[in-house]
Symmetry: C2
Subunit: 474 residues, 2 copies
Amino acid sequence: MTRSGTLIKRVMDEIQARITSRTYLPGTRLPSVRAQARALQLSVSTVVEAYERLAAEGIIVSRPGSGFYIAGPAAPLTLTEIGSKLDREVDPLWVSRQSLETDQTVLKPGCGWLPSTWMYEEGIRRALRAQARGNSLELTEYGSPLGHLPLRQFLSRRMATSGIEAGAEQIMLTESGTQSIDLVCRFFLEPGDTVLVDDPCYFNFHALLKAHRANVVGIPYTPHGPDLGVFEVALREHSPRLYITNSGIHNPTGATLSPVVAHRLLKLVDNSELVIVEDDIFADFENNPAPRLAAFDGLSRVIHIGSFSKTASAAVRCGYITARADWIESLTDLKVATTFGGGRLAAGIILHTLTDSGYRKHMEATRLRLAEQMDKTAARLQKLGIKPWLMPQAGMFLWCRLPEGIDAAAVARACLKEGVVIAPGNAFSQSLSAGDFVRFNVAQSTDERVFSVLAGALSPSPPEFCIASVAPHR
Amino acid sequence: MTRSGTLIKRVMDEIQARITSRTYLPGTRLPSVRAQARALQLSVSTVVEAYERLAAEGIIVSRPGSGFYIAGPAAPLTLTEIGSKLDREVDPLWVSRQSLETDQTVLKPGCGWLPSTWMYEEGIRRALRAQARGNSLELTEYGSPLGHLPLRQFLSRRMATSGIEAGAEQIMLTESGTQSIDLVCRFFLEPGDTVLVDDPCYFNFHALLKAHRANVVGIPYTPHGPDLGVFEVALREHSPRLYITNSGIHNPTGATLSPVVAHRLLKLVDNSELVIVEDDIFADFENNPAPRLAAFDGLSRVIHIGSFSKTASAAVRCGYITARADWIESLTDLKVATTFGGGRLAAGIILHTLTDSGYRKHMEATRLRLAEQMDKTAARLQKLGIKPWLMPQAGMFLWCRLPEGIDAAAVARACLKEGVVIAPGNAFSQSLSAGDFVRFNVAQSTDERVFSVLAGALSPSPPEFCIASVAPHR
């Protein structure tokens, strides 16, 4: 092979290796020819030739006016993984997008929120009427950089009840809990930085972290919090930048962080640079408040975030970030640069809703209703041989193991055909070790059809020849 | 010097050079020691030693639990620039944050939106009352991935009137115009990619692109659009990935793209990979619609974005992206990953407001009022020796040159002391060549005090000894 031939081969091999290692997923945009040439310290013509050969082989595709992309059905940042490892039904974004589709005929035991009939609709209606009479600025002007002061003051008082001491100036409002995490990631992460997540964890963390090109490491989650042995090793081996977790009601397992694990975890990270993001989105579902890392730590390395989508309304976008004052200052600059003035109207509506005298009663009723539905759903699932990993103290999620030998992705595929969206375990698992798990939302599992469709998906359908042989006689 | 001494020096010089070239701004987080060692192919201990010496010299600072940062008053992503080149008053984020502060005693001829009393408040109130009676899903559930279909259908019809053909499936709703651009940047840009902007352009583009670590190149803006000669050179020299512009009413100049420049610009980029982002946020202020690049181009390489913050309400967050179907598909995944379900309530309120029979009349009245106020403001400014660069056909902005020898940043400082926020030219200028320009918002310049404070700031105050010598006689 000529020298230039060798070099071209080197570029091709390099790209192939990244596809194999899943650094490049289908739809990933390749670096531009110039950038690649610079990075590999090769000539532009070598890279051009390598790209063109890869394109000829169908490994990458050229999109005019846009560049070269790894071939495959997925577009850039679509998180579809390759072949047998992970299929379309366990793609985290697939679950999100299926759940977000609004067709009301589809049943969604796989989705992560309450049915609209369970939400505090009357409170939202009242809040809207109150805003309609409210002052002009609230209706038409941009929000201030930190966001609606009365709501921040309310949140400050509310957090104090979980032992988190944060002044209103340490709280920045955002458009959602997801945006809160996204801003924190933008502030702290460089591409390639390691982020620890629970395994399993909320599937959208995977999608979000992929967008940040983070190196994601999963820490097995026990009934009392992250596995500290594995955590310690990961801390040493990867020097992670962030750890993202839920302390209250863990998604998807429904587990609760214990005070002992909270203490040991913080002790473990004492000499590291790790920043912990505590996503407290399920706080209002708790019967007995779990310990909060932000309270233990005093907001030194813990950032506490949340939103109101799960209890007040998901249609009204509002979330928050609570952190050290210097971080809040920088996060505010970043928020202004990337979304400009925050949602003043949304903040007003949320404040009105949460301080409405009916909200507390509504949440009490919701917690009772969830507890009841939790028991019912567990019993129904048990009959199908589907066993909860633990019985959560509160919340809407039941993390369940399917009967031996049944693949959750296959069940998800079968259920989808019948109009039932379920959330297969591997969508939540960085290590893809939850292939026989499913997360059920008990509030979305009140329809009997959820269980009949599930039963059908669990029992293998009779082979085709049976049907063929029987049919003529009918 | 020992070999290790030389290597340590090399790292220190490298960082110093980046500070000098303003690649590293105050507050920039340095790569971690490990990452830096990898990048420079040096040992970790060499980098540690270099960082510690730089810290000892006060050039960088260590923040425990967070890493090393370039010293200076600014936090990461705060865009304060260095020393004499650009001071705090011309920091783009400073202008944003000053303008977003809600203290109503401060006058804001420097801000980029209408006073709340000019907004369509009655329409928003009506929309809120209508939503309060609306269906449950609208009030409590997440939006669909693309966003509220009826609003997308409405936008599709509205865009058709400017010659932009886009089906509802080519339109994705976002939380704001700024978020629209941010998502597009996240989708297309790698750190270091070149982005062309108009010089001058909307100052927040600079803040946003800094957050993406783009290499920003300014193209001088003429009264008819970008300077095509400079554009051609930039295209050849930088192979830019994006060009971000306003076609309708250009911010800050108030200029309008001509059909000839639109045609030539698109011809110029024909064989390039450039993607054009057309920010159409001021569309509803136009008396005679300007040509739209998205219409000329047929949404092949042009992405058309906008929001309703300037005309309907800035408190209700809602924007959109219109683009090729394959790009919309990927942008939707990215939106779901980073903000999850969109603002369903906000979309409903905006649709109700825009389709309210009063909106058209309100905008007609607003355009008349703006035209009147434009003339008045220009006349008042002329009296102070402040000359408009051109008289815009429509909109709220007057881009003006100060009298000879007057520095806009100094004027901004002096005005701020008197409670008047003005927007100095260099906040808008990538090349910092607009030091004697100021952008006035004519709708925010109705108070006589704007001009009296400005007059005071323009005329140098009498030297102190004069006052001292005169005072005893009084």
